[in-house]
Structures are given as C-alpha cells and as structure tokens.
C-alpha cells in the first residue's frame, strides 16, 4: 500500500459527457440486473416491474455510446477505432483485458445487444400476449441472467477504469468499482419506483424495491467508508473533500434509501387506501433524492481528480 502517494499527472478533462455516461450506464445496467432478479426471485405479480426495468434499460443504454462518442477528440469518424486497430500492418480487433476502457467498450456493445433483445422480448410479452416472450420461459431466463452478468460488469467497470490510471484519488483506492455498482443498483431501484406511476400493476413490487434499495444503500455506505479510508491513507482526502456539498447529497440519498429497510413503504396496489397518496409522495421524494445522490457521487469522484 502506498502511503501519501505523490502524483504529478495531468487531468484528462473527462467532464460532463462522462459524468452523464457514468450515470446512465449505472441506471441502465442497474435496471436490467434488478429486472432479472425480480423475474428470478419474485413471483408472477413481480413481472410488470421486471418489464419496466427491461424497458428503462433500452433508452438509457442507447444514450451511452452517444455520450462516449461525443466526448472523443475525433468523435464521429473514429469512435470505431476503439474496436478495430487501424495501425498499418497490425490491423485487427482491439482488445486489451488489462485496459478497462478497452474491455468496457466491448462489454457495452454486448450489453446493448442483450438490452435490445430483452426490450423486444418484453414488448412481445406485453403486446402480443406471449407469456414466455420470444425466447421461451427457460431460454429467456438464461438470456436475462447472462445479460445481467454483463450488466454487473457495466455497472462497475467505470469505477475500475478511473482507478486504472495515475490520477490522485482515482488510483489511490480499490473501492470505486464496487461503489459505482452499489450506487447504480440503488439508483435503478429508485428509477423503477419513480416510473411505476406509468405502469400501476407494477406497484405490487414497490415495497420490496424499497427494501432492495435499502440493502444496496448499506452496501454503498460500507464502500464509501472504504473509499475515504483508502484515499485518506494515500493523502488525497483533501482533494475529494473540496466537493463536500456533493458528498453530503450522497449521504442524504443513502440515508433516504436506508430508511426503506427499517420502514418499507406500504404501497401495494391493494385498493384505494387513504394512506396511498402521502406514501406515494414520500416514495417519489426518496427516489428523486436517491437519483440525485447517484449523480452527485459520480460527480464528486470525477471532479476530485480534476
């Protein structure tokens, strides 16, 4: 372990495009993974919420390569150089397992395929009444699980990518991959909760979405402690604490999520209870806070080194 690491490196100026890419990749992959967990562990009445998750993943995933390409210095004509090496005499596919950016590009491409097929499959279930979708019950489930494994990679590699550098803060910790993963899942649970209003039958799963969000928040808090401990040991804590307001927002989001573990919202579609309106209001506020915290955490990490 390096004590008081010294850095003489220049910042790469990965700013707004990358921030929103990290945000959307977390929500897209988080939604996909949550949808699969809902489908695997939940019952038939959890299916609407699972479908919501697969739908959310599609637009969020489609925006990712657009943001990444826009951030490149030579954007639209050379984004594909990430995939294909155009070096004269060395032409071939680019894949460096030791460079998370290289692995991540492929993972995003493959994940995009899984997301697109799953969204189509969900649409077939919804509109054509095919209960088992395009791939059949067993095939569909295996497809979802494989897609979720890639989704878990997409959730976390962005944090590892930052660490695999020589930047202060980023390269001083091992916790970013896990931190991004836990926060992405938490954000996805919040986003599904927020969008249940457009699919009321999915409200059956709300209580347990809230519970899952709480678990993810506990995990996130543990990783946040690990992050600050490792960064402090390396002597870079001061750099990241300059973004204290963002970290406070992160803690507020985590706190809001954790309340769900102690007191899950009673929000099932069990009739016209008078209590539903204020509870729905609370769920909306919590979800928005959590999503803001997901964005704030990525912003605080990205800006800490720059």
């Amino acid at each position: 372990m390096i004590l008081l690491a010294e850095h003489f490196v220049r910042a790469p100026q990965w700013l707004w495009y990358i921030l929103f890419y990290f945000f959307l990749a977390g929500l897209a992959a988080g939604s996909y993974v949550l949808a699969t967990i809902l489908r695997v562990a939940g019952g038939p009445r959890d299916e609407p919420a699972a479908r919501l998750g697969y739908y959310i993943a599609l637009p969020a995933t489609l925006l990712c390569p657009i943001l990444l390409t826009a951030d490149l210095g030579v954007s639209w004509s050379r984004f594909w150089h990430m995939l294909i090496d155009t070096t004269p005499g060395e032409t071939g596919l680019n894949f460096k397992y030791w460079s998370p950016m290289s692995v991540g590009v492929w993972a995003l491409l493959v994940f995009g395929f899984f997301v697109a097929v799953s969204a189509l499959d969900t649409w077939a279930r919804d509109r054509q009444g095919r209960a088992n979708g395009l791939l059949g019950a067993g095939g569909g489930r295996i497809f979802n699980i494989v897609g979720s494994v890639i989704g878990l990679f997409v959730l976390s590699y962005t944090g590892v990518l930052l660490s695999v550098s020589n930047q202060p803060v980023w390269s001083d910790t091992w916790a970013l991959g896990g931190l991004f993963l836990a926060s992405g899942l938490s954000g996805a649970a919040a986003l599904i909760t927020l969008l249940v209003r457009y699919r009321p039958e999915a409200s059956f799963s709300l209580e347990r979405l809230r519970l899952a969000d709480g678990y993810f928040a506990i995990l996130e808090l543990a990783l946040l402690v690990a992050f600050f401990a490792t960064v402090a040991i390396a002597g870079s804590a001061g750099r990241t604490l300059t973004w204290l307001p963002l970290w406070i927002l992160v803690l507020v989001g985590i706190g809001a999520s954790m309340l769900g573990v102690r007191r899950p919202a009673r929000l099932q579609a069990s009739g016209e209870s008078v209590a539903v309106a204020p509870v729905a209001m609370e769920a909306t506020v919590v979800s928005i806070l959590v999503l803001l915290a997901v964005l704030a955490m990525r912003a605080a990490v990205i800006f800490s080194a720059q």
């Binding site: 390096i2 010294e6 850095h7 003489f8 490196v9 220049r10 790469p12 100026q13 993974v33 949550l34 967990i37 809902l38 695997v40 562990a41 939940g42 019952g43 038939p44 009445r45 959890d46 490149l72 210095g73 030579v74 050379r78 984004f79 150089h81 990430m82 090496d85 155009t86 070096t87 060395e90 680019n94 460096k96 030791w98 460079s99 998370p100 950016m101 878990l152 976390s156 944090g159 590892v160 930052l162 660490s163 695999v164 550098s165 020589n166 980023w170 390269s171 091992w174 970013l176 991959g177 896990g178 991004f180 993963l181 899942l185 347990r208 979405l209 899952a212 993810f216 995990l219 990783l223």
Partner: protein, 266 residues
C-alpha cells in the same frame, strides 16, 4: 557527431541537468522542427514562461528557484535547478498500457509514439501518464507528445533538441552508450564532492527504465518526478478494483434475491 541510426536498436536521451543553462534552445528547436505553434507565453514566477509539457511543448526547461530569499553570505544559495524535461519513452509505458485504440506503439527505435491517424482523442493516456507529458491538440482532437523526432530518426538524423543543445546537456544516442556516459558523469560528479547528483531512470526501478533518463541534482520529487515507490503502472489497480466490484456484485445480487424472494405473495 550524431551516431549512425539503425532500426531495431534502442535509442534515447540522456539529459544531464547539471550542465543545463536554461537557454531553451531545445524548446525552440523542437517547435521549429515539429511545427508546433506553442501556447501564448505565461508570465510565471521564474524565467519559465512555457509552464509545462503538453501538446504544444514537447521539451520544457523546468526552472526551479532555490535561491534563498535572504543571502547571508555571497554564494551560499544553491541557485537554480534547471532541467530540460521531455517524454521519458518508458520501457513500461503507462500511456501505451491503457490506450484502447492501439494508437500508441513502440517504434523500430524502441521509442513510444502516438500514431495520429489512429488516435481518437479518448484521453486515457493523459489520465495514465505519470509525468504529465501528453496533451490534447485542440486542432486535431488527438493526443500529442514528443516523438523523439521519429521522422528525423528515419532519415538518420538525431532529434532536433539534442542537436541544438549548446552544452550537451541533452545527449542522444544508443541507450547502452548513453547509460555508460551517464555512469562516467555520475562518478566524476561524486568524485568532485557533488554527492546530491543522482541518475533517474537509468536502471529499471522506474517504469522498467526510461529511454529518456536524467542526471538530477536533487531528489526526483523536487523536479516533479515520481520516485521509485510512487512509480506504479495503471494496471496495478486492475485486480483490486475488479475484486472489490466482484465481491460487491455477489453481495448485491444476494441482497436483491433476499429482498425479492417472496414469490407471488399477494
């Protein structure tokens, strides 16, 4: 007299900072040959108005003011540390390690080179270079740095900066010859009582050895160079990062399964 330059051999720079006079002829020669416009001059604290290595500055004479504010007796200050900084052409190059496009290659002269027609401007190399060498060229949208005058080497000429240096602070040649010359110079300085003189990047302790290595008159950190303890490759963080993510992923999935496990309960 420039050596005969052959493909397949290792070439580099030995920059002896003890005889640098801060004339910046290297900076000018580099810009002239490589057609670098340069940035607008900055009026900094010292005689340095270049500031840093970047897309427009591939040689930069660092001027570290070590003159005491109040001189008690004449000549007691260590005055200035001068160092013509450049891309180190590391044997284990952080920039090359992370580059996702394959734009950064080792040439037939064992130097590190960014292919301008392959680079797409992702800036991963900038995040990785521990020496803050690489900069983005806003006109081309690609990453730029010292090429060790790749075009001149191909034509059998030594790099422009080495040719222009009036004190031979910058020496170019086959790496093995430069290393021998550096050992002789260090020995001579130590014999003269200049015990603070030290070689940086001559051995493999820093990034497997540097093709552009230095004789320094103080510890590396004073010049803004990471010492051997701090010189880590980006890939050192792969295992820890992925392992942390893997453990988190497993715990999170289990947590999710536990949260959603109540099958079909109404």
């Amino acid at each position: 007299m420039a050596p005969t330059i052959k493909a397949g051999e290792s070439y580099g720079f030995f920059t002896d900072t003890s005889i640098c006079i801060g004339c910046k002829a290297c900076e000018v020669a580099c810009k002239e040959w490589n057609q670098l416009e340069g940035n607008s001059p900055n009026f900094l604290d010292s005689f340095d108005n270049t500031g840093q290595l970047d897309a427009q500055n591939w040689r930069h004479v660092k001027m570290l003011d070590q003159v005491p504010d109040q001189s008690i007796t004449s000549g007691n200050g260590t005055a200035w540390l001068l160092m013509s900084d450049v891309c180190k052409h590391c044997k284990h190059a952080s920039c090359m390690e992370v580059c996702p496009t394959g734009a950064i290659i080792r040439t037939e002269f064992d130097t590190v080179f960014i292919q301008q027609d392959v680079c797409n401007g992702c800036r991963n190399c900038i995040a990785a270079c521990p020496y803050s060498v690489i900069g983005m060229n806003q006109q081309t949208g690609t990453a730029h740095k010292c090429t060790l005058c790749y075009d001149r080497l191909q034509a059998g000429k030594q790099p422009a900066c080495a040719q222009a240096c009036p004190t031979q602070s910058i020496q170019f040649g086959p790496l093995a010859d430069l290393q021998k010359a550096a050992d002789v110079r260090l020995e001579a300085l130590h014999t003269q009582g200049v015990t603070q003189a030290q070689l940086y990047g001559r051995d493999d302790k820093v990034y497997g050895g540097l093709n552009a290595f230095f004789l320094l008159m103080d510890k590396p950190e004073t010049y803004g160079l990471p010492n051997a303890e701090n010189a880590g490759l980006p890939s050192r963080n792969n295992i820890g990062g992925y392992l942390g993510a893997l453990v988190t992923g497993v715990v999170a999935v289990v947590a999710g399964l536990v949260a959603f496990r109540r099958r079909g309960a109404a």
